[in-house]
Amino acid sequence: MKVGILYSRIRRDEKLLLAELRERGHEVEKIDVRKARFGLEETTAAVGDLDIVLDRCLATSRSLYATEFLASYGVPVVNSPETATICADKVKNSLALADAGVPTPRTEVAFTTDAALEIIEAFGYPCVLKPVVGSWGRLMAKIDSRNAAEAILEHKATLGHYQHKIFYVQEFVEKPGRDIRVVAVDGEPIAAMTRTSDHWLTNAAKGGKTAEFEITDNVRELVERASEAVGGGLLGIDLMEVGGADSGSYTVHEVNHTVEFKALNDAVATDVPAVVVDWLEATAEGYAEGT
């Protein structure tokens, strides 16, 4: 098949995928979104004869618009712009999970510092303030006191971008020093890992230590439902254990749509890029058959 890769930066994740695709004899069209122009009916990017395009844009804004354009031209693109739109925004992400009945941390949003402070005081300390767009744990604040809350809210209100004035407040979940990342394709888990850290942020990008996590039936079911809630695709589903590591209870705090998997690939026995390419082949075939 002929596969397009939307990118602006080739990370180790993309190199693993490119190697797997080429090894299987697939033709790859790398599309640097920084160079492409997107018109209402056509693009300068060579997408005309592609069987499928995989969005691997590092910048969320580019991912959102580039996939929207490709979908409008009728080019099969994964993940879909609908999935990207939900996953790129923490508010939409939380709403989609809650609407689907997937357990997710208690969350409230306010548009002024005064209203945000009311939420924080009602939640109690500690609680968490997150940017609605962003990742790798950046600009996340664990708020331990009213003094800290007032200072952080004031800082956010002066950061400039209007998105920082959307105050997304979440309960602080007492997790057992780790969270769980599951990478899944259309709800079917490929593999999972725990990310452990003494810091409250356990993201691999923040230096969290990774180890393989054996997927339980409970996690499998939550992953399937969380994936469906955001429209499916190649996703990174993040869960936290509630009530201790052996409780079997989880809350899903986020679903990521341009998931990085190099840390997972290093942590588990499964060949993650191989399974991703299996899925791409099947998805492209599905598009060709009109399903």
Binding site: R9, K15, L58, A59, T60, V133, G134, V259
Partner: protein
């Protein structure tokens, strides 16, 4: 840095020194300069050209 005999040689855009790159580098790939540690982007393969990689932006990530 690799000692692979197929390694490629490029000029570090910051210091002008010659640096070795693995033979399988891709256009768009980010490598760490062995000289300065700065992130460099592979702009082209023939000729092999590196530039300083773009700075991290707020909406980057997954």
């Amino acid at each position: 840095m690799t000692n692979d005999t197929d390694a490629l040689i490029a000029e570090d855009p910051i210091t002008g020194e010659e640096i070795e790159l693995p033979a399988d580098v891709e256009v768009g790939e980010i490598i760490d300069s062995p000289v300065t540690g700065a992130e460099l982007e592979v702009i082209s393969l023939d000729p092999l050209v590196l530039e300083e990689a773009p700075e991290l932006e707020e909406d980057w990530g997954e």
